[in-house]
Amino acid sequence: MADDPSARQQSGATGVVVLADGTLFWGHGAGAEGDAVGELCFNTAMTGYQEVMTDPSYAGQIITFTFPHIGNVGANAEDIEGVNPYALGCVMAEPITAPSSFRSDKPFDQWLADWGRIGVTGVDTRAITRRIRKLGAPNAVIAHNKDGLFDIDALVAKAAGWSGLEGLDLAKEVSSTQTWVWDECPWKLGEGYQPGDLPADAPHVVAVDYGIKRAILRQLVDAGARVTVVPAIASFDEIMALNPDGLFLSNGPGDPAATGVYAVPTIQKWLATKKPLFGICLGHQLLGIAIGAKTVKMHQGHRGANHPVKQLSDGKVEITSMNHGFTVDADTLPANARATHISLFDQTLCGLELTDQMAFSVQHHPEASPGPQDSYYLFRRFVEGLR
């Protein structure tokens, strides 16, 4: 084929995705110029690209959006899940369009550039997705140069030389370094975000920030909790000094085993207090490790907003948002823990709880944002348990 991407540089190409094995996907650059190395993954959600880009769990990753039109509703100051975009960049099928939304502040392209994030458009994203399905998520470089100047050999070397997510403690990098109080409620049409109006005796949750999504904090407030956020490396004593009624372990990027080095001992000490604990995503994996279960890296991970999860207690199915590349191995759960949720896509563990105290966690994202909000009940369950 004359325009076989790996044969030669496509004329006019200003962007390229370079895989560690030398495979090239040529396209047009968007957003910031430069290059970045990370794990190339995909996300199948059809809405919420801005939330996805700002989800700290995507630190170290380049996102291939499977839905072709990205940027259609622009970017705004509300639909963000962290202080900045954590994903390194994104790969898209179609050029980013001018926005059409009463909520938009600026074009998505501009937003990417403002935050120094790289986009490549005009790529057969379905081909990438199928490749990831078959071969797993590769290490890759995303690059944008408006003059189309790329040193492909160097970029391949960079992708191949990157050590990958396994063993990486990215949580520490994306976590806040300070302790702070959160009191904002979930978004409402016409009102945006409003501060919560909580009584002084409302239960107090300390949320450990491994890369926490703001939607989680908002859901905790909505469920009736006062929330204090602490850094990933906060010690047990620092946490206890805040007098929490419950501990929340957040989502976050990277390899749970690496973050677990300092997080697990803290969690274990907390469990010993028998006070309630709730974890999401990375927090779920860390709880798993803390109770002696094993985590394993998945072949392709779960990344989308259409994943069915079954509650084992009553058989109900909730449609969830997911973003994880590691999973807790259900077969390694200790005797005092049981599975509460499983993925109906591949039967992997999606939720666990301890049988002898109130400590539970889920692999999916009950806070949604983006995605279906079927699992909000978990926040209520947790905060109810603190009263």
């Binding site: 006019g12 997705t129 049409l189």
Partner: protein, 1079 residues
Amino acid sequence: MPKRTDISSILVIGAGPIIIGQACEFDYSGTQAVKALKGEGYRVILVNSNPATIMTDPELADATYIEPITPDVVARIIEKERPDAVLPTMGGQTALNTALALAKDGTLDRLGVKLIGADAHAIEKAEDRLKFRDAMDKIGLESPRSGVAHTLEEALRELEHVGLPAIIRPSFTMGGTGGGIAYNRDEFIRIVLGGLEASPTTEVLIEESVLGWKEYEMEVVRDTADNAIIICSIENIDPMGTHTGDSIAVAPALTLTDKEYQIMRNASIAVLREIGVETGGSNVQFAVNPADGRLVVIEMNPRVSRSSALASKATGFPIAKVAALLAVGYTLDEIRNDITGVTPASFEPTIDYVVTKIPRFAFEKFKGADTTLGTSMKSVGEVMAIGRNIHESLQKALRGLETGLTGLDEPEGLANASKGEILAALGKRVPDRLLIAAHALRVGIVPSEVCRVSHYDPWFVERLAELIAAEQQVRDNGLPTDAQGFRALKAMGFSDARLAKLTDIPEANVRAKRHKLGVRPVMKRIDTCGAEFEALTPYMYSTYGGTECEAEPSDRTKVVILGGGPNRIGQGIEFDYCCCHAAFALGPVEKGGAGFETVMVNCNPETVSTDYDTSDRLYFEPLTAEDVLELLHIEQKNGNLLGVIVQFGGQTPLKLARPLEAAGIPILGTSPDAIDLAEDRERFAALVERLGLKQPAGGIARSRDEAVAVAERIGYPVLMRPSYVLGGRAMEIVETTANLETYIETAVKVSGDSPVLIDRYLRDAIEVDVDALCDGDTVHVAGVMQHIEEAGVHSGDSACSLPPYSLPDTIVAEIKRQADVLARALSVRGLMNVQFAVKDGEVYLIEVNPRASRTVPFVAKAQGRPYAKIASRIMAGEKLASFELEPRGKGHISVKEAVFPFARFPGSDPVLSPEMKSTGEVMGIDSDFAMAFAKSQLGAGTVLPMEGRVFISVKDSDKPLILDAARGLEAMGFELVATRGTAKWLGEQGVAVETINKVLEGQPHIVDAVTDGRIALVFNTTEGVQSLKDSETIRTVAWARKVPIFTTAAASVASVKAIAALKARAIEVKPLQAHHACS
């Protein structure tokens, strides 16, 4: 939860005839439901009056009742079959209303039958406007301000708080019949009166107008465990104000942030819970204010629908099949996703392409009808297209419509229009509004101005602007000379034909240049999951927006079946039936097929043919030469292409026969040359002469002068029609040279390339339709159908009887002989349809079509033999001798009746003519003609009166014909009224008849009597332009007041026989299987 074991037999109610608002989507859903329930071991009983459906194939359900779908008849079926449950959610509004009536009158309770899928309470809550609004209030969802009225006075009271413009929606009507938007008080009064009349409960909702807001639909599925999932979101490009069925729509929604989308998702599920739809699919419609995102609920349908069919095809998630399984107790997680094979149905499909749906209209058939779109649906079909981006998706849909568009062609009549005129045109809700928007951009009107006037979302208008800019580039610079540039253009969906127009070179040259550069499409799969899992089902679409082809053609011997494209008048479900049968007959051996790999190509989302389950491989592609040749190119990369079937999908695939042949593609069955011979007037006349058959005198004209000469040579009246048409488009009986000239000037373009055919019109001849099979040597006449209406009424609009009810055996034998001779002379391999006219004992050949006809499914159901399947196997090389062909079952007579959409098109004359106007058909089957005809009328929605006054006004030549009917009515106690001439004549024959004024004779006249409900039945036959014009109001008012009206003498006579039969005995019901087994 496992399936229910407390029920073992289920009655599925179908949707009846194809009408506007209720088309083949309900055959698609009903067929899925019947198959799914049978697969679970239930005894399935089916009622549907529409013989052209796959669901009524006798091998599908255990007992198939082709009977009228009325509460009374369905109650008889329930009494006879005693099913444990009724599934009312698969047959549209017809099934829902019928089930609700049976629940309300106590029939279901009396017979111990449960409603599954949706109970009476939920149906009523969803369908009753007031109850629905209260339900929405209860769950905190906004609906437009509204009020309910049962009288005009109440309506005017409601208007005070709702304000103008106001929307009027009648309760319990389908497709918005009888509703509308009122901008002033006069309009308001007119629409309210019509709406009250249309509503079976004499109830209308007066509603705040949210005109111009964005419109969305959400397709939701819920199970008994309260698991609810969204299958698909649909965004209408046409904003609120245009009926959703008449709107151009895309999936998924493209202009919502996730936060807004989730509000809509939560609301949709809350609506299902509150309405109480415990299992199955529903759709919920929303309007969203583009300025602030305010969301209001418009309505919900507690059943599968046209949009659920669209959502199923758009995502690969079979909503109806899943809904049927949920209705018998399964939960979503217990049902497998067929496409991936490994994941359950409890998930939300995600797509990585854009789907566009465009409705197709038939206003050209209804002269005088208002083409403005509103809350009452007017489109007769739709096309769906899939592309990797909106540009490709939209342009594929436009060319798939088959209305002559190659893309965003310049709309008619605006070539020299000023910007002001273009903006004025853009302000109207008309079928080609999108083209007008594109044209506005073309002449330099800025996108923001286009948005302001049209209320289209800017996102869509910007995409149109990109397409128009690309067109300009091509106009200025010609075709790209490099592969990358050409590919970029093709990735925006430009067809070779469009590029040919833009560059003014032949399409073949565009294609040749493209191929030389190696620019060809790839196939991608529709897999429900954005490639996250492997797709097992080869359900594909083409795109230029990608490099990786997923077609993976097999090494098998394959047959490609080309479908019929969007439904239109003249080409609908009957042809889809034939295509499906070809797939069944030639498909897997384990399913009774011949063992070829079947490959279906079609772009109509409503159909069974585009169910991924129907054929081995499915390409959802426009039926243009370019698109078909490209997919054949890919299919031919592996395996052996036995051939393409072009004779089953109507005119659409037939038109492709030549280009396919030119490209060296084998055509199965009758040769394209033979098809051409039959269509080519002059060649055919030579053949007829050689065979010694008789044709009405005729000729062909390539200019106005030639036409006049031909007409004068053969003598008036003459039948005029353009060559190469289906459905009698622009056919007309012309009486004088002046009329002929008008026809030439207004109805057709006459030129060397498109001549006009002129035939002597055989007045009062009996028309006969014949369907036959031939394997090249042997012929089998499958059915001889005698039309009820005389020759001159389009065969698709005539009722007909199989076997003939009054033709002498000698004539039938002669007709069969002629059909035999013709089939062999044309070397037909497959199906052939012949139309004859019988006058004064002479048989005249009217036309031959060596292809599947509209009557094939009717004949198959009547005779109990799957003729389309047999024909398919003959086309693939088998001989007639290897099949059982003789009709099964004795002692029944089948009548087919056409169904008309006149009520949707006020302003056009509801009269039968050579131009086909019916949208669908029903079948009445019984032991004698009179009862079979009675059933066909009931099935078509015509309730014949048992008493009252009958108005008779017939043309002179019909008077002798109508006499027996008048006497019969008199004997049965009807009163007769007639206009002066008819009354005088009937009086002279000793019939007691009252005289009433014609409209022209002053009030009180006949229209007053019909309007006041003093007339129970109308016989009105006319001839000649002037009398037609004079009597038009009678017909219009009769249609509006739902007074049965017959506009031909033969049908009037038949209706009297039917009334007599209905008076003599109660309707009896009998399943098709019993009819066929009867010896």
